[in-house]
Each structure stands twice: as C-alpha cells, then as structure tokens.
Amino acid sequence: MSWVLLVAIVVVVLWGISGYNGLIRLKGETLNAWKQIDVQLKRRYDLIPNLVNAVKGAMEFEKGTLEAVIQARNQAVKIQADALPTGGVKQLAGAEAQLGAALSRLNVVVEQYPQLKATANIGQLQEELASTENRVAFARQLYNDTATTYNVRQQQFPWSLIAGMARAEPVELWEITDEKERAVPTVDLSGKPKA
C-alpha cells in the first residue's frame, strides 16, 4: 500500500515539475516573441527617414502626407519604449495602426508619380517597405500565436493549479484597435456613377 502511495507521490511531483517548466518555457517564448516585434518595429522606424528622404524632392506638393508619416513614427517610437506584454499593448497597437495607415497613404501617393516610379531606387524602396510591413505583421502573428497558447495553457485544468506558482499571468494580444481597419473593404464594381 505504501508503495502505491510513494509511486503516486513521485508521479505527481514529476508531473508538477514538467508542468511548471512547460509554463515557464511558454512564458519565455511569449516574451521572446514580444521582443521580436520590438526588433521589427525598430527596423521600420529606421527605414522611414530613408524613405522620406528618397521621395522628398519629387513630392513638394505632398508635404502633408510626409509630415503625417514622420509624426506617426515619432509617436510610435515614444510609446514603444515602455510597452510590455502585460500592459500597454493596446496603446502601442494604436500608434502602430496610425503609422501603418500613414505609410500606406504615402505608398498610394508614390504610385501617382510616374517619374518617381521610374527610378529603380523607388522600386527597391517599395519592396523594402512591403517586406518591412510583412515582418511587423508576422512578428505580431507569432506573438499572438505564442501568447494564445500561453494564455490557454495557464487557464486549462490541471495546469491552472500551478499557474500561480509559475507566476503565469494572462498577457494581452495584439489586436486591431482601429475600427476602420477591421471593416471589410467594399468594392463597387457596378460601374454606376456615384450620386
């Protein structure tokens, strides 16, 4: 009888250790994924001045668009400095959404300047810009996937029993804050003139 008890205790302790380590590992992965977003955002902030310089000369008329990009960038840099997975994800996501919108406006404007598009430099910059946006998006996706696994695991029984011991707290996901971005774009193909 005592043998059975001993074996049961050993099994429970071993399970507890592996569950605890699993939670710690997920916590580490979540933090790492968060740092990945930081790295990619930094890369994007560094790219923006180059982009603005490259198009400034040819786009005297579009000062507003350029200023919007620069302003949104500086705002995002400020907020990024002290955002953490357990708080501040929303503000950063908001600032980033604004920067993303400003950048895509700039991209549309660039399309309207044939002489700008003709230079190979701009083609490279556009690929670079598209890639940068993708990197930020994929880093967020990885963070959201990892964070979701982490959040689900610490609420699931029986891991929920040791979540407190492992100091596991639910982390915020990076969600779309701008309602305009969430909306499905409507495309009018009827060809009717608008009223």
């Binding site: 992965e29 790492n32 994924a33 990945q36 990619q40 083609g123 490279q124 690929e127 670079e128 598209a130 890639s131 993708n134 990197r135 994929f138 880093a139 996706q141 990885l142 959201n144 996937d145 990892t146 979701t148 696994t149 689900v152």
Partner: protein, 346 residues
Amino acid sequence: MSGGNLFEQQRRNRRRSALLVLVFLLFFAWIGFGADYILYLSTTPAQGEFSRPGAYHHTIPWFGMLASVLALGMAWYSWKNGPKQVLWASGAWELVSPTKPQEQMLVNVVEEMAIAAGLPRPTIWMVPDPDPNAFATGTDERHAHIAVTEGLLAALNRDELQAVVAHELSHIKNYDVKLMTLLAALVGVLALISDFTCRFFGRGGARVSGSRSSGKGKGGGALILILLVIWLISVLLAPIVSRLLALAVSRKREYLADASSAQFTRNPAALAAALRKIEDAAAPTKAIQHGSAHLCIADPLGRRANIKEGLLADLFGTHPPMAVRIARLKEMAYQYQKTGVMPEGV
C-alpha cells in the same frame, strides 16, 4: 477524413506520423532483438534437461545491440554530412548579396517567414535548374539551409513564393530532416540484415539451427520453430516494409508542412496556387538527386506515383497526390475565411 482547420490538420498529422514512427521502431526492434530472443530460447535447456557443460548460452542481445548501434552510427554520419552532400550534388550556389530585384525579394521573403516561424534566418541557396522546385536541409535550426531553383523564382509571384518558403521552413521547424535521416538509416540497416540473413540461410545455415532445436522438448521446439519462421518472413519482407513505412511517414510530414505553411502565411490559397504551378511544369528537376526527394516541395522526378491518386500513390509516393494536397489547402482557406478567428495554438 481530410477535413478540419489548419491546427486540427497539424495535430492529426503529428499524431499519425508519431504512430507510424512507433510501428517502424517496433518492427526494427523485432528484427534485431527478435533474433536474440529466438537464439536465447534455442540455447536455453528446456525444463528437466541439463545443458552440456560449456554449451553456448545466448543471454546478451548482441544482434539487437549491434543493429541499433549500426543504425545510430549511420544516422549520425548522414545527419552530419547529408546537408553538405545534398547541396553540393544539386550544384547550388549561396545567395549572399542579392543583385537582381527577384533575388532581393527571395531574401526578404525568407527573412519574413523565419520571423513568422520563430526560427533563425536559414542560409539561402540558388539551384541552377529551370524546373520550379525547392528543398530544405540542415542539421538543426541554427544550421539550416533552404534552396530554391531559378525556375521557381521565375514562375511564382511574391505570395506563392512566400507559401513555398514557409513549407520548407516548417520542415526545419518540425525536425523533418532529422526524422527522415534516421528513418533512412534504419531502412539501410534493415536491408543489410535482410541481405546477410538470405546469404547465411542460403549456404546451409538452416541445417545448423534446425539440428540444434531438434534436441529440445517438443513444446519448446515448436514455439522456436514458429518464431523462427515468422522472423524469417519479416526479415525477407523487411526491405520493402521498412521503405513503405518510411514513405508513409514522409507523406504525413508533407501534409504537416502544408498545414504549417498555412499557419505561417495565413494564406493557404497561395500555397495551393504555387503547387498548381509546380505541378503544371511537370518536367523533372534534374539538379536534385533521387535520395533527397522527400525534402522537396514536390517530387523532383515528377513520378506518376506522386501525382495521381490511387493505390500506387498510397504506397510508393514520397509526397501525397497533388490534387489531395491542393484540396486540403483549399478547405483550410475556406475554413479560415469562414471563421476568420484562429483557434487555440498548436
């Protein structure tokens, strides 16, 4: 049967390939340690009998241990040297500083997908071959290589290239290179054992073992004889059975890589489109060797077994039939569009 969203498909393919690997290992153990067990039975005196002094007792499972060590050694050797050989044989050159816009795009796409997969950036190689194909190799996450043919770069657009790169990166992330190297080594050792046994029994070895077991009590002798017959049949069939099992694992890992690609890009339709384009250019990829077919996005030989559905494809294909892969990806795309929200993580 093929249903489910991408996370369900990943889980199902993980489970199935784990089961197949387990069957494979049990089969290997039966061939190796089964021989020891039969020898142990036939050299142990039956109850009530005395053994002759100095008679051999087979108590230490030498056969099984030797086979395991041999397999592990072969696996280790090909794991260490395989990546170099595969790249060298394909004539690939490393893409260090991209000059053309398309090469820059490839580098960007690989870096993006490494972020999405949470992997370090792999080394990028270009294979000078006009047929669209791609493969991944490497010893571990930090020493991974991804190779793309020039034909692939020319044929696919950015989204499709991204999907193919994601498929290859998930082979790295799911340890498929290691798994398939180990299985290939086990297949090789089993072929060796089978060859050796056939020669041994062909030269009258059967007479020796027959005379040994005839001296036993009746019950023990019959058991030994039955076990021996089953063992011999398994050894004769070992080369083909082990190869079929390895191919089955390979097909499951392809489905898994397709589903992981969909997870990384969140765009299963792009991979479906890429597979369609690769299938349409059905010419064989000459630069890629037969032995590394299981690492590619599509069978480089363009063998019929991998394209058409049916019994042949179910047994001998390194890859699942294209039509089934595309259908599964389309279903994932539909489910993702319908629900919009990703379920819990992998």
